[in-house]
Structures are given as structure tokens and as C-alpha cells.
Amino acid sequence: VDGWGSKLKENKIEPILWDLKVALLEADVALPVVEEIEEEVKDNLLNKKIGRKYSIEDVIETALKNAVKKALDLETIDLYDFIKNTEKPVSIMFVGVNGTGKTTTIAKISHNLIKKNYSCVLAASDTFRAGALEQLQVHANRLGVKLIKHSKGSDPAAVGYDAVEHARARRKDVVLIDTAGRMQTNTNLMDEMKKIKRVVEPDLIIFVGDALAGNDAVDQAQKFNEAVGIDGVILSKIDADAKGGSALSIGHAVGKPILFVGTGEGYDDLEHFDSDWMTDRLFG
């Protein structure tokens, strides 16, 4: 059988790696990340001796899967443990580009917190977009939680600040701050986000990314991380058949853990991110 007892040479590795590369690209793993992982795998395998019971294909695939798993297995935060162990009120700010699912994700997390007997306050710090206040108000009403909002066009930082003060005064446990979607290339809006952070001083900043996004996910995560520092990532819309390779790209690019994936529009459609599950999904 091809490979038994032989050494791995570049020309043997290349074609097998090619197929695996294409699989990762088709799963929306960013090209630069695929290439870096490929280099890593090649360095590990070049001139390695293959044991008698393995095929070249198996050895290479295993090496690639391990490299992928390594990029995904970042030191993670258990959100609920963090909340449990942090002085109340715990404030969490949600950021990301337009339409990724920030507002809906906040509703889901709020729902889960309530199930765990925490009290929540929502902050409507998207004071710009049409219907943003109304959208979050609907969620607040359904969840039975307080929404702190000012008028449309008001200062997002002031809303966040107010919400934290309100939570402190009323002994509420968690403040979830919804912010407006913004392009990472829009300097004014990135500055506005920095100001919200400066004024509110959130305990956690969570980047909400769209699992449907391709290579741009890396630039998004990097720019948001540079601007305000991301503590964790939530990837939404993975139910749209998106393989979610951006989980790997983002993890690799900013080294921040994926906390959850969004699997639908309902309040229960939020699942813990699992790197084994992701690795299977990427190679499946």
C-alpha cells in the first residue's frame, strides 16, 4: 500500500493537501489562514516517517485536523461562570458590522440568563438605525426585562452609562448593551464605539459575526479587536448551511475564543461552541 514505511516528500504531500485546502476554502476559512495552516502542516510532515499501519492520506488529514483544532481550541471564557464570579452589575457590550445578529443574540443571552435566575437590563445603544429601539423593545417586552433607551439620535454612550447606573441602583445582575452595526472601515463609527467603551467601561466586549461571511470576517474581527479589544466572539446564522469557517479564521487571526453559535431566530437558538463539532463540520 502506498506510503508504508516511506518518508513524506513535498510532491506526495501537495496533491493530498490540495483537496483538503479546497474543503477548508469551501467552508469559508479565509485564504491566508488556510495557507498558514498548510505551511504548519508541511513543516510538521516533511521527511517524517510513516508508520506501517497508516496511509499517507490519513497522516496528512490527521495533521491538518490537529492544526485546525489547535487554532480553534483557544482558552475560552465560560460566559455564565464569568458572570457568576464578577461583581454585579456585569456589563456586556455587543459589537459588529451591520446585520450580523447582535440585537437578536442579546435577546437569546438575556433569555438564558433569566433561565439561570439572573436579572437583566437591556441598553438600546443603537440610537441610529430605523426601528432599532422598537426592535429591542419588542424583545424586552417578550422577555419581561427593562429596556433603557433614550430618543432616536441620542448619545449611545449615555444610554449605556444610564443602563449600568440603573442596574446598580436597582441591584440588577447583568446589563446587555446593544450597539449599532458599523463597518470596520468607517472611522467615525469606530471612534463612536471607542467612546461607548470609554464611558461605559464594560466588563466584557463580545464581537458578533455572521457565519455567512467569508474572508472579510478576518478584517472585521481584527479591526474591532484593535479598536476596543474583543473578549469573545459569537457567530450567528450557522443554521443557514454556513460551514462557519470564519470561526477558524477569526480564532487564528485575533486569538479570541468563539463562545456561542447562533442556530436560528428563536431565543433557544444559541449553542455553546465546540471545537470538535467545528472540526467535524469543516471536514464533513
Binding site: 458590522v97 451591520n98 445578529g101 430605523a130 422598537e134 472601515t185 443557514a240
Partner: protein, 286 residues
Amino acid sequence: KLKDGLQNAMKKVANASHIDKNLVSEVVKDVQRAMIESDMNVNLALELTQKLKERALTEKPPAGMTSKEHVIKIIYEEFVNILGDGVELKLRPQTIMMVGLYGMGKTTTCGKLGAYFQKRGLNTALVAGDTHRPAAYEQLEQVAEDAGVPIYGSPGESRAPKVVREGLEKFKEYDVVIIDTSGRHSLQDELIKEIKRIRKVAQPDEVILTIDASVGQQAGPQAEAFHDAVGVTKTIITKIDGSAKGGGALSAVAATDAPVVFVGTGERIRDLEKFDPKRFISRLLG
């Protein structure tokens, strides 16, 4: 780093006094890398790479054109062939149905399109056909106000086809009616059934797929699913004011044959521009 793609390739071509096999391979390799990095469907990128190579090696440059100009011309031709070149929405009475994945910019684009037609002398109205998303009606209502057009919706009603039928009845004297629908994806059987029902009620002259420039490998398959369900006739690519290259959107167009008519360049009503294929392609390829 992303900028290297076509600029690099073109430098190689420009510096060559003739086109030789190795140069073509190198140029095409650079273009392929740029295509994949732009989120183009991998198979489509590989397919196009083959085509580019074949054409560059077998076609003689037309009279008066250098080989290097010819290679550039081939690349643009193949892309324009997919995307469409200067296709416009006609300024005439019509019903338009907006469809697409979650969060792509459908509702915002309804307002932009509404203002576009209204400004050009066509009495335009919007119908709030999204009966699922929280405060979808309120969002479209504010968008319509900014656009200066009337809106019909039925906030308590969950049956979208019913709302659409009522809206079309109310606006039957209007020239252009634009129907907003909720986000959905191909795996949601009930929602695919719904959009088919809405289409049946609306009998739209145009079905516009709104796609975000940042969507990756799912753009093609999802566009195909929308096309199979309701027949997409035009495409609008949104959020090109970001850094996304739009290769996924191009793949969506390849799957539907629905030419791009507009691009979304921001969140305001005025942030709608006629599609410029040359600009889009050069941006995609770097």
C-alpha cells in the same frame, strides 16, 4: 496584501513585451488567488481560471491591441459576462419583490429604491411583507418616511401573503410597488413555501435578490435556492462601502443570471449607486 492580486498580475503583463505561456500561467495564478480571496465560489474561481488561461493562450489580440491589453480585456470580459454591464431597472410601472438572506439590507434597500423611483416621477409605495421580524413594520415605516413614500403594513398579521395582497390592493393606482419580505434561507421549508406564496400573490415584474458583499461560499448555493423557488431577475449588492470584495455576490449572480442593477454604499436613503462593473471588478481583483 489583498491589493496584490490584479495589480501584481497587471504589472507582470505590462512589463512583458510579449505574452508567453509561462507569463500567462503566472498572471492567471495571481488572478485566481485574488478571486478566491474575494470570496468567489471556489469551483467558479477554478473554472474561470481555466477559461482565462485558454483564451489568453489561444486568442489573437484584435488589430491595434497589444497582447497585454488583450489579457486585461479578456479578464474584464469574462467578469462582465457574469455580472452584466449597465443593466438598469426600467422607469415604468412595476411590482418589485425583494428577497434574500437574513440581514442583507432588504428593508433598507426598499427605502433606497422607493426614493429612486419617486424622484424620477413614478408614484411609489412600499409594502411591509415581513411579518416575522420584531418591529419590521416600524423599521420600514421609518425608512419609508425618509424616502418620502407611503407604506402599507399590518403589524398584528402573521400571514405575509395576506398583507401583500392587501397592500397591492391599496396601492393599485400607484406606478411602482416595492414589497419587503423577511430574511430566510434555503433550509427553511416553511419560509420557502411562504416566499412562493407571496410571489404568487404579487405577480412581480422584478424579483430582486439583495446580497451583502461580505457573504462567502454560501452566496452561490443560497442564490440558486432563491432562484429555484421564485425566479430571481435582478441583483443588488449591499454594503460595498465596507472592505468586502463581493466575490460571493458575483457567485450569486453566476447562479441566477440576474444582472446587478445597483449597489448599496451606506445606510442612508441616498446610498444607492448604479452598478459600475469596471469599478466592482477592479476592486474585487485588487
